[in-house]
């Protein structure tokens, strides 16, 4: 069975129809990994549309919601197949200490996962030492993403970068920063490597770090 | 609180309150004015919780 239909319906955010297509594919014996691949292709397309301002944060969130429901449907198959298969790389993301906004972070997470990356989500109000600890536990992670919504959390962004440097892990990773008030100036002044203007830019940067 | 009060500025309408009195022996206007005075404050207060907090 052709999984192209799943990709197309997910791009169009046709929720009920995409679930039907997934159920049909499962019934026809398509593997969980194939269905996952088709769904990820749709997420990548939505990410591209986002870059062109043809899709928006609300669409990304809704696509993420549909994706979660697809994953629930194919979970038993994936378990039998030994998991989701290889990923393109790993990124650690979180909203910096003193800031509990999660929307931007979640959109980046949806975009990265949709593009085939593994994401370690540290949540919100994340103290610098938690980023350091996550880097120790995930020595293969090459990208750290800092989400900042409050201008008052700029100092905490700087502290996070410094803590990573002090731990000796700075050479291991590239740090990107994004969020409503963030600019090139903020990225530079806080010691980050890259200002991710939106989720799509975050994906492009992560791809470039991994050379994929 | 009236069962249904979708009108802005009113929580417990005077018309409904008035039914609770068998009669108003003195000046009804005084009773009505001050009933509505507190009722409109309750309304603004209620929506302040939504808009302002």
């Amino acid at each position: 069975m052709n999984t192209k239909k799943i990709t197309e319906l997910l791009v169009e955010l046709e929720e009920d129809k995409v679930y039907d297509a997934v159920d049909e594919a499962i019934a026809a014996g398509v593997s969980g990994r194939e269905i996952l691949k088709a769904s990820q292709a749709a997420m990548a397309t939505i990410g591209e549309m986002y870059k062109r301002e043809e899709a928006f944060v609300a669409d990304m969130m809704f696509a993420g919601e549909i994706m979660r429901n697809i994953l629930t449907r194919i979970q038993p198959l994936l378990e039998k197949e030994g998991g989701k298969g290889a990923t393109l790389g790993k990124a650690i993301i979180g909203t910096v200490k003193g800031d509990i906004h999660d929307l931007g972070k979640d959109v980046v997470m949806i975009a990265l996962e949709g593009n085939g990356f593994e994401v370690i989500d540290l949540g919100v109000d994340v103290p610098p030492e938690k980023f350091v600890e996550a880097l120790k536990n995930n020595p293969d992670a090459k990208v750290v993403g800092l989400s900042v919504f409050l201008t008052s959390a700029f100092p905490s962004t700087e502290k996070t970068v410094k803590a990573i440097a002090d731990s000796g892990k700075r050479g291991q990773v590239k740090i990107m920063v994004g969020g409503a008030p963030v600019t090139e100036v903020v990225a530079r002044e806080t010691g980050c490597d890259y200002f991710a203007e939106d989720a799509a830019a975050g994906v492009s940067f992560t791809r470039s770090v991994y050379g994929v | 609180m009236a069962e249904k009060t979708s009108v802005p500025g009113v929580c417990f309408p005077w018309e409904e309150k008035k039914k609770e009195y068998e009669e108003i022996k003195g000046d009804e206007e005084i009773v009505k004015t001050w009933w509505e005075q507190y009722d409109v404050h309750a309304y603004v207060h209620l929506w302040f919780c939504v808009i302002g907090l």
């Binding site: 919601e65 509990i100 409503a180 | -």
Partner: protein, 400 residues
């Protein structure tokens, strides 16, 4: 003879009114929207200005005394006082000094899913039928740790919560009023805004369904979303007008949120956000009140749409948009505020700030209808010396 505080106040009021009405004032008014920054100027922590109403309001008075050239200020730009919200167990704020460090800003915790949302997807009909009833009987109890909805077993904490909610808010407003008076008599500064508006779609998205909820609802039950915005619109207008400046000297404020570019498509904006916002703005203007469109984020896509509003009915505050583009598109119809980047205020030097202010005044001052402010609300990341430089530059170059 030195000017009295009242003379100074009248002079500043005249200036502020003229700029808001697109006339040319004697000087470009400086109307900084400073929140936790006021505390930093006064030497208070974020916890002190957020949780202690006396210190929070006092900070603004001190700011008006210490920063030169402020024409109009907001006495409660730290708009939530968390001692008030804690008094009745409000759930959705993280409070500096409690869950957050004493120097962090208070923050709203948005519902993550339908289970946490203060309005569930199945509540739409009830909400649409009677928003008053829903807010009182469903929404308030769900947002409080103590309040109990009708029909459930009552508790002493519930009784106390309703009482304290009433007392705390009432007391806070008394203090607010007193400090607006103090700002006038002690510092000659105008209280910049009175009355608050939220777009019906924003209030639904922020406080009732959450962003995630509304993002799903516009796909799954669009007609209900639309009806809900229509049901809430009359209440938004009524409350704004009721709490606005009775003398109609100063505008009301509209904190704009999810209509910004990036969150939703233009189609969603035109269908769900704009019709009721337009209706409410016109109704408020009909009552003689201007609205500050505090356009958080980027709104370039919608600038032309705002032209549908009556001349001078709004003051457009520019955040992330290019203020020159905003001036080009809206400058003939509406006054404009903003222009000093927050990253410059946080990381730049006073000389940078002065240069920027001088440029803004040169470019926008001569036409009138320009009010000096930062791009976004100023928090504790702003350097005090940069804030002072803003005021000094406005005094130095602002007389046009």
């Amino acid at each position: 003879m030195a000017k009295s505080m009242e003379d100074l106040y009248q002079e500043r009021m005249e200036r502020y009114k003229k700029a808001n009405r697109m006339e040319k004032p004697d000087k470009v008014p400086f109307r900084p929207f400073a929140a936790e920054l006021a505390g930093k100027v006064a030497g208070y922590t974020a916890q002190q200005v957020t949780h202690d109403p006396d210190l929070g309001l006092d900070a603004v008075i001190k700011m008006c005394e210490r920063v030169p050239g402020i024409d109009a200020a907001v006495v409660n730009m730290v708009y939530v006082n968390t001692s008030v919200t804690e008094s009745y167990g409000l759930k959705y704020y993280r409070v500096p000094g409690i869950q957050l460090d004493a120097d962090d800003s208070f923050q709203y915790m948005e519902p993550q899913n339908d289970e946490e949302a203060f309005m569930k997807v199945e509540d739409y009909e009830r909400f649409i039928e009677d928003p008053n009833e829903f807010v009182m009987n469903v929404w308030l109890p769900r947002t409080s740790n103590y309040m109990v909805p009708p029909g459930e077993e009552n508790t002493w904490k519930n009784n106390l919560a309703w009482m304290k909610n009433g007392i705390a808010i009432q007391q806070y407003f008394q203090k607010l009023g007193a400090n607006v008076g103090r700002m006038r008599t002690d510092t000659g500064t105008v209280s910049a805004i009175a009355g608050a508006l939220k777009a019906p779609f924003d209030i639904l998205a922020d406080k009732f369904r959450g962003f995630r909820g509304i993002a799903y609802d516009i796909r799954r039950c669009p007609e209900k979303v639309l009806k809900a915005t229509e049901a809430i619109a009359p209440h938004m207008a009524w409350n704004c007008i009721a709490t606005a400046d009775p003398s109609r000297n100063v505008p009301c404020s509209h904190w704009m949120h999810r209509g910004a570019t990036g969150f939703f498509s233009e189609e969603v904006f035109q269908k769900f956000y704009w019709p009721t916002l337009k209706q409410v703005t016109e109704q408020i203007w009909g009552a003689g009140i201007q609205t500050i469109y505090y356009a958080e984020g980027k709104w370039a896509r919608n600038l032309k749409t705002f032209r549908e509003l009556p001349d001078k009915s709004i003051i457009f505050h520019c955040d992330k948009d290019d203020i020159y583009e905003v001036k080009r598109v809206l400058g003939d119809k509406f006054p404009i505020s903003g222009g000093v980047p927050n990253d410059m205020l946080a990381f730049g030097e006073p000389a940078d700030v002065k240069k920027r202010v001088k440029q803004l005044i040169q470019d926008f001052g001569p036409d009138g209808g320009y009010i000096l402010d930062a791009e976004a609300i100023m928090q504790q990341d702003v350097k005090v010396e940069n804030f002072i430089a803003m005021g000094e530059a406005c005094e130095e170059y602002g007389y046009i």
